[in-house]
Amino acid sequence: MDCERLQAAVSARMDGERLSARLAAEVDRHLATCAACATFERTAWRLRERARFELAPAVPDLVEPIMAAVREAPGRRPGRLLQAVPGRRSATIPRRPRSPGRLAPVAAALVVGLVAGSLSMGGPWRQSRRATVASAEQVTEGVARAAALLTAYQARFSVTEHHFAPDLPVRELSMGVWFRAPDRFRLDVTDHTQYPARDRTPTDLRLVVNGSAWSSTAPSACPVGTCPPRTTVITNRVPFSGSTPTPTDLILPMNALADAHELQVVGRSAVLGRRAIRVRLTFEQAQPLFPFLSLGGSWRPFFPGDRVDLWLDATSWFPLRYEVFPAPGRERAQWALRFGLPPEPPGRPVFQVNALSVSEQPPPSSTFRIPTGRGTQDQGARTVPLSDLRKEAGFDPVVPEQVEGLDPYRAVLPAPADRSAAPETVISYSKGLNWLKVGETRGWTGDAPYGPVGLHAEEVRLPGGGVAYYEPATDEQGRRLSIHAEGIDLYLETTLPRDQLLRVAASLPVSGVPIPEAWRIRRSADGVTERLPLAAAVSRVRFPVMQPGPDGLPDGFALASSELVTVRHVGGLTLYFQATDSDLGVGPIRLHEEPSPELPPASSAAQSRVEVRGQVGRWTPDRHQLEWVEDGVYYSIDAPGLDLPGVLAVADSLVPVEGPATTTPSPLATPPDASTAPSASPPGGVLP
């Protein structure tokens, strides 16, 4: 093979062009024997790295001048343009991709809301007792206890938003929330703002959940004038489906306050004449209290690190007030500049929600009437009596012996994904705001755990010995567990705390086994990935493995899984860390290590150099990725949601894994009862 043709092929392959299998093999053979061509390839990769690193100059922010020029441009088609809200739309915090239900275009206001001024504080509050709450754990437990007992709720709030747009420094809205256990919910947002321009659409929203039906209404996107509301209706949904969520944190913030590590009790005070406990958390963590931001309409942007102060009624635990305060610091100031926000001092709230009335009176059934909409989607889940499930599904679904005091709610047969799909059943239970569902199928042919649980879920030992795979709650999903057993696959999803979920799972008449090799080992053209307990993985690589020290990971994070990654006979290791209770924004943290004398070529134009553990490392902000090489080992940490100081804290804490006894990276990985041994203590049969 002539070198020129070969080098052209190397060049094309570097640029992502696919070579034929034959040419690729020829290239590899030639590269192994021809020094000149091997040098060409190596030099070309170095050139790429240098080009991507060195040619990336600091970039000015031109959004505002460009948009100003666009608005003034003579070619701008008058009458065709949305005179909208310059530069402000829904929350701008980075989000994981959402399920379609959450994004469904939603529409405006059938105005049920009374104007804020006519609302009054009242309602049959629970008898006030002397509050004894002091710690974050007690807040978390108190909210969870109240959620388990709640049967009905209705409340009105006033909402004040600052700095929506330069010509609209303040917007006034009101919010109504209604609930009846187990599965009826309504949220209305009514916009009372007097807009200076006529063609701005008020942010009027409605979300109604009524058993198997779900609907949302919000302004549609339209080119000019006041946009008409658009209603999306979902029928025959699976109970408590994450794609059609019910934002019950507005009533009792079970999810936002699930993790005591993430909140701080800052004191007590009286709010609206009630004794209240004031807790503090980040905006990112408090997201479940702001479900309206993603429902539609227009809102000011929020910085993930902004502070949210929340006043909870000391006896009922209902939120009475919450306010967003700007985070201090340069990063926040630069972020604010990008949105054209005026200076926002950290001491002054930019968003306030205040209860006007709260009561536990059951709202009338008509409150939860599902509107008729043009875009009705039937999700096809068929509700059947529990006694008929066996006949309909073709198997006798297993049920947990104990469900933590919840009552049976609804059993459904979800619509099969296709004709050949094995039948599935979902049995749900609920009490108060809590719910649990158990999904089951026989003859599962997927190549990953059944249900909404990923391959990197934490392997846990259930009380009684079975193995299950666990993932924490997110803002759309509950805590989840997948169980793989002989001829049967199950998943559980719930609002219940982790230990209760594990107890429910242990009471199922099946004993989970470790996931099969076909799921554990994945092969691709690039190499092999094998999920293994940490100790086993460590014993199979030829470099000293590092793991985060006890103070490095964000609070509440622990090792979930470890993987051996073999590419071209070089063994590397990837560790995944996840939150134990709920994961509201940080996402799993991934640490990869492999022997390499140098960083791989740069892969993004937006990268910068940083000092990591005394080495020159590379920070890629859009991927939240930090990479460096230390003692001949390449490390990369991917931590969606963590900023550079947060990722550096993880990097700085790394310590060698010394042996099987230290395979638990954080004391938090081992809950007090030994029933949930982390994957580091392998159940028999996992090791090769």
């Binding site: 094309a12 809200v85 739309r89 000019v224």
Partner: protein
């Protein structure tokens, strides 16, 4: 380079300024960088970026989706940069490369010198592919060339850049 969400693009085509602003926010940095590599002039690159988005806004309705949106936008940016360079001819004011933050100004200067030394027909595909990560097809769309031509020019651009930097390579620099 990722194309925008089709819904955002559709809304922008309908004249939704908010959606268009999303596009500006997503791509202004890349367009500016691209313009800067053409003009080597900070202020001129800003003008080119602004003009490119103005033209994009004006002609968005004519964008049929035959190529990727990013390729189309870069093609406009390239045309704007060409116009700007033509207008500027006669009063050249090329700047030193702007600072990128972390050190090694020497290496940066060498790379810019090497880039300046290769011909336009090689520099363009090199920038689009190496710096902006475009594919051959996208580069072909931007430069209005055939994919085969892009492929061979890119290969020759690599050889030319390696040659220009050969002195450092000998010294172990590259």
């Amino acid at each position: 380079m990722q194309d925008p969400d089709p819904r955002t693009l559709a809304r922008a085509r309908e004249g939704d300024l908010g959606a268009f602003e999303d596009l500006v926010r997503s791509y202004q940095a890349d367009v500016w960088r691209f313009a800067y590599h053409f003009t080597r002039d900070h202020a001129l690159a800003e003008d080119v970026t602004q003009e490119a988005f103005l033209r994009a806004f004006r002609f968005l309705r004519s964008f049929r989706g035959d190529s990727k949106f990013t390729s189309w936008l870069f093609r406009i940016a390239r045309n704007c940069a060409m116009d700007a360079i033509r207008r500027r001819k006669g009063h050249e004011t090329r700047e030193a490369p702007p600072s990128m933050g972390p050190p090694d100004p020497e290496a940066r200067a060498e790379l810019h010198a090497a880039l300046a030394a290769v011909s336009d027909e090689h520099r363009e595909p090199f920038l689009l592919i190496e710096v902006f990560g475009l594919s051959y097809q996208e580069t072909a769309d931007v430069l209005n060339l055939r994919v085969g031509t892009v492929k061979s020019r890119m290969h020759r651009a690599r050889l030319a850049m390696m040659h220009a930097l050969a002195v450092e390579e000998d010294a172990g620099g590259l």
